[in-house]
Symmetry: C2
DNA sequence: ATAATGACATACGATGCGTATGTCAATTAA
DNA sequence: TTAATTGACATACGCATCGTATGTCATTAT
């Protein structure tokens, strides 16, 4: 009678390990997370971990890959539902900041990840997010909305600014006020990308970011 | 006969520990640096380390404080010798990127530091660099060169962009070409800060950054 | 001269990682 | 149907490292 098929059990084990590690990494951090502890919390031992992921770093990679996939999916949804390209780009930046405000992402992806796995610009997953942003910038260039500039370069600078803004906001005493200042300054910088003619309107900063902090 | 005074010996011991740790952290990284090893390389033991710095993290703090002081000093020199405020600000940003290209700074200050000590915007030292940049932006605002924007917010965004640009450049296959693209995009973003009238000239990007990569 | 402080070294216990080995179920082959 | 093999996972071991507790010796204070 129906004991679950092998492949499913294995996938389940991997998922349990990733979930347990993600929780541990996200709360106490990578270095402080004991493999014995969080494998046990998943009802397993380190044996399973080494079998499936090679070592602790391998597991961190798997956790980050999972988080990154979620981030990419969220970004795509955001940029897809805007009614023009520029707005889509701005919304995507805002979504980026919002995600970087989440403690789990901040801890695992933005702090421990780079320390353990090296420069994030070398990760395949992180590059997916950048690529998504680059594509938008490429289209904006073709469209003539922004000045001629290397899309990937701009995407990396903008994401860097976003991430730091998020860290600043998240650790601020008054996150709401800080968020307003950061978003304002962020939009000023983004306007540097716009061509002179397009700049007159001074497009408004999206206000959603404040809701997430209310 | 002149055995050195007590205070000097102690300062020397501390300096030796910081230097040894700085070297170890900068090469193999914080996590891989064995306290037994690098204290021994300084002709001491962990006893001295725990006595002076409390623990491994305390020593990392001391190392980062030393590096940060050097960074701040370099930034002040750069911004002081420019002939106008805007140029001084742009030069300071460029110097920031150049420093972030140095492997020791990248490893200790930009990767291991945040992972071990938390968000850099909370470090007293890192805030010194930001404050220096903020002051310049404040003056630029008073002067009427840039649009009204919170100086600290702008400083943090700009430094974030700089740091990510640096990581991208440093890990690129063709750092020189990448550097050109990054600097161009960086200047485009900075122009967003300039008031419409000031923007006509499209001030040129300083080229010094390319020299450091040649 | 003696007491007290403090700069360091040594000794110890605990924890955590990686590997080597063992076990048992599930697939495959005969 | 049964025997052989694979592979998922647990257990056991050795090693390195960290933090603390304790010891020693020189300097400074009384």
């Amino acid at each position: 009678m129906g004991h679950k098929p092998r492949k499913e059990m294995i996938a389940e084990t991997r998922a349990k390990l990733v979930a347990a590690a993600r929780h541990a990494f996200g709360t106490v951090g990578y270095a402080e997370a004991s493999m014995d502890d969080f494998t046990a919390s998943a009802g397993l031992t380190r044996g399973a971990l080494y079998h499936h992921f090679g070592d602790k770093k391998g597991l961190l990679q798997a956790v980050i890959a999972e988080i990154d996939a979620e981030m990419l999916a969220r970004l795509k949804i955001v940029s897809a539902r805007a009614d023009n390209l520029w707005q889509g780009f701005v919304d995507e930046c805002t979504a980026y900041i919002e995600m970087a405000l989440e403690p789990e992402i901040q801890r695992i992806v933005l702090r421990d990840g780079p320390a353990v796995l090296g420069d994030p610009s070398q990760w395949p997953s992180q590059n997916e997010c950048i690529r998504s942003m680059s594509e938008n910038l490429q289209k904006l260039g073709d469209e003539g909305t922004i000045v001629a500039v290397d899309p990937e370069a701009a995407a990396r600078l903008v994401s860097g600014a976003s991430l730091h803004a998020a860290q600043w906001i998240a650790n601020s005493e008054d996150p709401e006020a800080t968020s307003k200042k950061a978003v304002k300054a962020f939009n000023v910088l983004l306007e540097g990308l716009l061509k002179q003619g397009s700049r007159i309107g001074r497009p408004q900063a999206p206000a959603e970011i404040d809701k997430s902090l209310a």
